[in-house]
């Protein structure tokens, strides 16, 4: 049911762990729904120098987190903000329709961590002002 890429990122997830002195930490999802993603960012001069994640969830949740970290590592904040759930899913060669919410969670984890960074460092990031994180994602996400 999963692509080879999903299985690869599930079996050999990139950037698992924590960053003790992270500049921004985001956590999305909830245990009730069966998936939580936590993302740590180290940011220097507007560049994401390092990123780590921890995820409680199914195979595609772990793979989506791993892929999301790969997509934003070394990128600017603006570039990271452009990473959509579709981009995560496409980079994984697709996700089964019932698992698309995992990629949504990955996109939200990035944004949540950036929002935390902007608050901690008093940096205004355009596009994050009115963002809402939807913990009840299962019930709203439309499959594309």
């Amino acid at each position: 049911m999963y692509s080879e890429k999903v299985m690869d990122h599930f079996m050999n997830p990139r950037n698992v762990g924590e960053i003790p002195d992270a500049d921004g930490i985001g956590e999305v999802g909830n245990a009730k729904c069966g998936d939580i993603m936590k993302m740590y960012l180290k940011i220097n001069d507007g560049i994401i120098e390092d990123v780590k994640f921890k995820t409680f969830g199914c195979g595609s949740a772990i793979a989506s987190s791993s892929m999301a970290t790969e997509l934003i590592k070394g990128k600017t904040i603006d570039e990271a903000l452009q990473v959509t759930n579709k981009a995560v899913a496409e980079a994984l060669d697709g996700l089964p329709p019932v698992k698309m919410h995992c990629s949504v969670l990955a996109e939200q984890a990035i944004k949540s961590a950036l929002l935390d960074y902007s608050k901690r460092h008093n940096v205004k990031i355009e596009g994050l002002e009115d963002i809402e994180f939807d913990d009840d994602h299962h019930h709203h996400v439309e499959e594309e």
Binding site: G57, C58, I62, K99
Partner: protein, 392 residues
């Protein structure tokens, strides 16, 4: 061939060689329709009746009380819808439990839409029906009680004898879905006051797509499948002769050396439970510790999710199942695990390993070894585990 460990025997089992051998001729040279007059057909009638006798013997029933179906789901549908429609004039209330298989639950939900009223009984933390609740739920218009013999997910065995007595006392029909129990528990329908019993061949080394419904003599239920006069006018359709022969052989074998086999499977089960509890922290056993099916192990590992666990086990060639929502495509984890009071997060981390006589001690040890690695690996990735470590 690469090593493969199958511990999902509650999902299905392989067809035993002896069973297959008896089935094979009926696909080719013995292809006659049992309803035909000529020898090629009528000889198969004899074989179908022999199989019926074997099923009856296993249940302590008379062969005239056994009706072949296409499996457990059909038997459940037939028993419940058939009884409901037959006794509609007498009443419209049905009692069942919250932990039934979907074949029973969704049949009851369907009947609710048709104007029937259904009480879904709670179970205790081990998954056992509370008899006082059952007694209290009985009304003047109750026409059927349907309680599964043993649960497919957590293995809990219900107090069927007591339930049968209560049903009899109140003159209410008693149906039990015994799909998981056949071959694992000795059943005597008379001793247990069972009026209707569903079974399915593929759970005890028989073929898929064939089952039976026991209907006590004198109990009338409406037909589910209309058509020809097969199964004494109660279940139409040309008999699945090969399947029926396979079912007969499989149920006969299931109760051969029964005590010995059960003792062995229970020893494997208890070894598996003991080793998991000893080697892995933050784990809970779901279901009753002793009043459970010989081959059923169901545990929840905290801080991890069942589907990732199953995927990793699969990569190690170990087949198992989980009550996590992610394995079912639905939003919620297993209704059974929620009914015994588990929180959503604990239910998401559940794992069912179901054993059979074909498993070995060595396999049990290997699976535990792999589980220790996999659970640890997933926990190292889990933000929930991180929190627990911080709190310690």
């Amino acid at each position: 061939m690469e090593r493969y460990i199958y511990m999902d025997n509650a999902a299905t089992t392989p067809v035993k060689k002896e069973v297959l051998e008896e089935m094979l001729p009926f696909f080719t040279e013995k292809y006659g329709n049992p309803s035909s007059v000529y020898k090629l057909g009528s000889a198969n009638r004899v074989e179908v009746e022999k199989a019926r006798e074997k099923v009856a013997l296993a249940l302590g029933a008379d062969k005239s009380e056994i009706y072949f179906t296409a499996g457990g789901s059909e038997s459940d549908n037939w028993a419940i819808k058939g009884a409901a429609y037959k006794y509609r004039d007498k009443g419209n209330h049905i009692i069942t439990t919250k932990i039934e298989h979907h074949a029973v639950l969704n049949t009851c939900k369907y009947l609710e839409k048709q104007g029937f009223e259904v009480t879904y009984l709670d179970v205790d933390e081990d998954g056992i029906v509370k008899l006082d609740d059952l007694k209290r739920a009985i009304r003047d218009n109750t026409i059927l009680i349907s309680v599964m013999f043993a649960n497919n997910e957590i293995g809990t065995i219900q107090p069927i004898k007591e339930i049968g007595e209560i049903a009899k006392e109140h003159n209410i029909l008693f149906h039990t879905d015994a799909v998981q129990a056949i071959g694992s528990i000795k059943i005597d329908v008379n001793e247990l006051n069972i009026d209707l019993l569903s079974l399915s061949a593929h759970k005890f080394f028989g073929p898929k797509g064939v089952g039976a419904l026991y209907i006590r003599k004198g109990v009338r239920i409406d037909n589910l499948i209309s058509g020809g006069g097969q199964e004494r006018n109660k279940r139409a359709g040309t008999e699945n002769v090969a399947g029926i022969v396979g079912l007969g052989k499989a149920i006969e074998l299931a109760y051969e050396n029964f005590e010995e086999k059960n003792k062995y499977i229970i020893s494997l089960r208890d070894r598996l439970i003991e080793k998991i509890e000893k080697n892995i922290k933050y784990v809970r056993l779901n279901g009753h510790r002793t009043q459970r099916l010989p081959g059923n192990v169901n545990v929840s590992f905290e801080f991890i999710e069942g589907e990732s666990l199953l995927l990793m086990l699969d990569l190690n060639n170990i087949a198992a199942s989980s009550g996590s929502a992610c394995t079912s495509g639905s939003l919620d984890p297993s209704h059974v695990l929620l009914a015994i009071g588990l929180s959503h997060e604990i239910a998401h981390g559940s794992l069912r390993l179901s054993l059979s006589e074909l498993n070995t001690e060595e396999e049990v040890d290997y699976v535990v070894e792999k589980l220790v690695e996999i659970v640890d690996r997933l926990r190292q990735m889990s933000p929930l585990y991180e929190k627990i470590k911080e709190e310690k």
